[in-house]
């Protein structure tokens, strides 16, 4: 049996056993999608469902997104098929008191970051169900790779332009936005039951996809995720109009790392950088 096949058997066995033993009542993973090159989320509640689980480079959706849904909250304990980006999102949700860590288990998948769709990706599955506390030490070494220059190549390219050209660049990109909010809906950390974009008393953000409304929406979306975005790229992959949303998210990530020395997704007990402060925070831009 090829290595991937063995890993897949192990993944399915872990999920089946978790459901059979009653350790969890729901396993969220991936099944084959309806078209080639797509994977669909799979919600396993019976042990037999586990036989439909798959994992490959098309499994890019961030499954942590489902943890905040009422149907999933109704389960006592839930297991997630979690590559690193999913686990980072769980950390964020625990940090923000949206998810009780004692009610989540991870079937941890170790694989490279899935930045785009790719069929072949080498992956292994960890032994046994893990709690978040058990998982975190196994991913701690990835913290150092969060701020490598390659990750910020697109940001650096935008930064190298003049202010005027940057405006043109984003005006052109934001103009494409159709306000479908796929970026918001697919984001595990955009969980507000009532989003500021949906409020109309007062109407802060134009609801139609005008230049003005698109600008306000995309700026506010990036700002609300500043210091919280765990850099999974789900928003950019979900965008039907191919807006470079990760340019904004990674710029925010870079600023937060440089100014406040913080990278999201590693410490569920850390204070969020934008809801705390230090007395000697940098303020050279304030007159």
């Amino acid at each position: 049996m090829p290595a991937e096949g063995r890993q897949l058997e192990k993944l399915r066995h872990l999920a089946r056993h978790a459901l059979e033993s009653g350790a969890v009542s729901l396993v969220i993973g991936f099944a084959e999608g309806t078209v080639p090159g797509r994977a669909a989320p799979l919600f396993c509640t019976a042990p037999a469902d586990a036989d439909r689980l798959i994992f490959d480079g098309y499994c890019t959706l961030n499954l942590a997104n489902y943890l905040t849904r009422p149907e999933v909250r109704a389960h006592q304990t839930v297991a997630l098929v979690a590559r690193h980006a999913v686990a980072k999102a769980v950390v964020g949700l625990v940090q923000e008191s949206q998810v009780d860590p004692t009610r989540v288990r991870l079937i941890a998948i170790h694989c490279p970051d899935l930045d785009g769709l790719q069929q072949d990706v080498a992956w292994t599955v960890a032994d046994g169900l893990q709690t978040l506390d058990e998982f975190l030490p196994t991913a701690a070494h990835l913290h150092d790779q969060e701020l490598t220059p390659e990750r910020f190549a697109a940001v650096a390219q935008v930064e190298s332009k003049s202010s005027h050209d940057r405006w043109d660049h984003f005006a052109r990109e934001f103009d494409k936005c159709i306000k479908c909010y796929a970026c918001r809906n697919v984001c595990p950390l955009c969980y507000c039951e009532r989003c500021i974009a949906d409020k109309n008393q007062p109407q802060w953000i134009d609801t139609s996809s005008t230049q003005r409304g698109n600008f306000a929406w995309n700026i506010v979306r990036a700002f609300h995720l500043a210091g919280r975005c765990i850099d999974c790229g789900a928003c950019e992959r979900a965008c039907p109009m191919d807006l470079p949303l990760m340019e904004l998210n990674r710029k925010m990530k870079k600023v937060v790392a440089e100014r406040f020395g913080y990278v999201a997704g590693y410490d569920p007990k850390a204070d969020l950088p934008l809801v705390t402060f230090k007395k000697d925070d940098p303020e050279e831009f304030i007159k």
């Binding site: 043109d168 984003f170 005006a171 005008t210 700002f223 710029k251 934008l274 007395k279």
Partner: protein
């Protein structure tokens, strides 16, 4: 552009900068009449959307000002705000809004002089930058002609 009069919206906290502006007035200090003050309880109350909304409604520049660190009436509102501004000002700069369009400052109730000087300085800077047409000309209605520069 000689007759361009900048339209500056200032979000000021009621305890420090608003009182500082009051002092500038009662001390009969002169400063340009281009600024409109919006009084808020604390700089911590100032949402990033206030700044965008001001631009949408025709501001050429925005000033955000409150108590010096340590002086906040609510202990830490300005320190929380400082972190948000740090990130938000970088974001605005990143998408191509000139940093001269948004000014942040600490002005205490005793600093009427600083308030008058800052308004003078910001007004001069925005006069040089010109009207914020690139923001104002973004279409606000569906189907409106696209005319961003």
């Amino acid at each position: 552009m000689a007759d361009f009069e900048p339209n500056i919206t200032a979000f000021v906290c009621t305890w420090c900068t608003y009182a500082g502006a009051d002092l500038a007035g009662t001390s009969r200090m002169k400063y340009p009449a281009n600024v409109r003050l919006i009084r808020v309880p604390c700089t911590g109350r100032i949402d990033a959307l206030f700044i965008l909304k001001a631009f949408e409604n025709g501001a050429d520049a925005v000033l955000v000002s409150g108590c010096h660190p340590g002086d906040c009436h609510y202990t830490s509102g300005n320190l929380h705000a400082r972190r948000r501004w740090t990130v938000f000002s970088e974001l605005l700069d990143f998408v191509g809004i000139d940093s001269g369009r948004v000014t942040f400052s600490w002005i205490s109730a005793a600093e009427g002089r600083k308030f008058a000087d800052l308004i003078t300085e910001v007004t001069a800077k925005v006069r040089a930058l010109g009207p914020f047409d690139s923001y104002r000309k973004m279409s606000a209605a569906a189907g409106e002609q696209s005319n961003a520069r």
